[in-house]
């Protein structure tokens, strides 16, 4: 149970009163984002995403396996996230804890429920053989806002992934069939202000968190509120609006970096 030093809390809160953030950003600004793909030769797809100092790698592996009985014609996906001790002095080795589970589930639902992967095109033999997609997210350096970094890295890895048909003697490799991806933007609230893309210092004093995934048309595709603070309805709507706008910019950068 870490207790954030009162002095840090006061410093950041005082800055916020004047509309400022410790690293000079405006409330609705993201930090600099870097996206690099194709970095793991063994993976079917991979991406490294930096948001400020936060560094995340996502790797896609594919295998041939059985479909679920209730969807015999669909490929299967599974998402795992590890908060490995490399990334932070506070992360411990061992089975994933609540934070890592929430992270993996939010990224997983963001991909699954928005149906980015066209799982119906990943059937090899109905009821018998389908493609299994493993999305593994490695947090390597933790400086806040893992939700957006992990989501973005997963998307970039998926968008550059090749189905390894050749390795399984199923014809030529081909790009993973994908639809247009929603972009996830996370805001936090403290002392009455809401800011986008929190740094670690800002996360540590955050009272409430809201992650909003929106698509190209500005529609909502997923949301997750976190922490024990609350939001008013107006705050939620304001955050959604900023998330739609920011999502557009990030989508452009994502498309550029994957060569679309």
């Amino acid at each position: 149970m870490t207790i954030t030093p009162a002095i840090k809390r006061d410093y950041i809160a005082n800055l916020a009163k004047d509309g400022k953030r410790a690293d000079g950003r405006k409330f609705e600004d993201f930090r600099n984002i870097e996206i690099e793909t194709g970095i793991i030769s063994k993976a079917e797809g991979s991406a490294k995403v930096k948001i400020g100092n936060t560094l995340v790698i996502a790797g896609i592996k594919m295998d041939v396996g059985e479909p679920y009985p209730d969807s015999p014609d669909s490929g299967v996906m599974s998402t795992a996230a590890e908060l490995i001790p490399m990334a932070s002095p506070d992360f411990e080795a061992g089975p994933p804890r609540e934070d890592a589970i929430e992270l993996a589930r939010v990224v997983d639902r963001g991909i699954r429920e928005s149906e980015i992967i066209e799982v119906d095109k990943l059937c090899i033999e109905p009821g018998e053989k389908v493609w299994i997609i493993f999305i593994d997210i490695h947090i390597l350096d933790y400086d806040g806002n893992l939700f957006d970094a992990a989501s973005l890295a997963s998307l970039a890895a998926l968008m550059t992934a090749k189905v390894p048909a050749k390795r399984f003697e199923l014809g030529e490799d081909y790009p993973l069939p994908l639809k247009e991806p929603p972009i996830s933007c996370t805001s936090v609230k403290f002392n009455g202000v809401t800011i986008m893309d929190p740094s670690l210092d800002e996360e540590e004093i955050a009272e409430a968190r809201l992650t909003v995934a929106t698509d190209e048309k500005g529609d909502l595709r997923a949301m997750q509120k976190g922490l024990n603070g609350s939001f008013s309805v107006d705050e939620v709507k304001k955050i959604i609006k900023v998330s739609i706008d920011t999502g557009k910019k990030i989508r452009e950068q994502l498309y550029k970096s994957v060569g679309k």
Binding site: M1, L210, D215, L220, K225, G226, N228, S230, I240
Partner: protein
């Protein structure tokens, strides 16, 4: 989510409900002997028990917060509560739900009164049919009152969603499986502040606004049922005296 199934016919839902109509809800406070507070709740086909222990010393000790209590909600589905038997023990889904419910409850409990303590909230789903997290949180809130835990407000939860292009309240089982969006929400009814919110599926901004309105409307209706259940328990006690 697939839409092989027609979920709306002449504006009526599969179970005959209108778009803004809740499933039947029954709440009873103080149903268990050992627990310090408890609640039994039926909500449509859901049957949920909640039991509260604490405040007591948090264990293991490294989980203690020297300035306030922590809330450990533990949402669990009985193996027999679903169509295909669930393996006993926590899975990733139940651990995520436990986390978001714990966070929502922490918002209203006067945690500062109990440094180093834990307040343990056990939620058992013994029959499940869509909306168990809303049912669990709603039952947990009543159990907390029954346990005499000091709270700023009694939180309450309800979902809205989208089926066949229509925004509706409180999705039933088929609506959850084959609908287009689900938006569970928990609020503090006194302030209207949002304590829990998750969304899956696809909603335009307009649809989201409608859905959020509906869910909050549902919360207020259920809030009255919570208070009635608590009153009944107190009355019984008074009568016995």
């Amino acid at each position: 989510m697939k839409t092989d199934i027609k979920l709306l016919e002449n504006g009526k839902r599969l179970d005959g409900r209108k778009y803004d109509e809740l499933r039947p809800i029954k709440i009873e406070a103080g149903v268990l002997h050992r627990a310090e507070g408890s609640c039994y709740l039926e909500w449509g086909g859901n049957k949920v028990l909640a039991a509260v222990y604490g405040p007591r010393e948090a264990v293991p000790r490294h989980t203690q917060n020297p300035l306030r209590a922590i809330v450990n909600a533990r949402y669990n589905m009985a193996a027999f509560s679903v169509d295909d038997r669930k393996r006993p023990g926590p899975d990733r889904r139940s651990r995520e739900i436990s986390k978001v419910i714990s966070e929502a409850l922490e918002n209203v409990i006067i945690l500062e009164n109990f440094p180093r303590a834990s307040i343990d909230v056990n939620i058992e789903v013994i029959d499940a049919e869509a909306g168990t997290r809303c049912a669990g949180l709603t039952a947990a809130a009543v159990a907390l009152v029954d346990a005499g835990i000091p709270m700023r407000d009694i939180p309450v939860s309800c979902a809205a969603g989208k089926i066949d292009g229509q925004v509706v309240i409180d999705l039933g089982k088929n609506e959850d499986n084959y609908g287009q969006a689900d938006l569970p929400v928990a609020i503090s009814p006194r302030t209207g502040e949002i304590l829990l919110m998750q969304m899956d599926g696809h909603l335009t901004m307009d649809e989201f606004n409608q859905a959020l309105d509906l869910a909050i409307k549902g919360c207020h209706i259920i809030s009255d049922l919570q208070k009635k259940a608590i009153m009944e328990k107190y009355q019984k006690i008074t009568e016995v005296k």
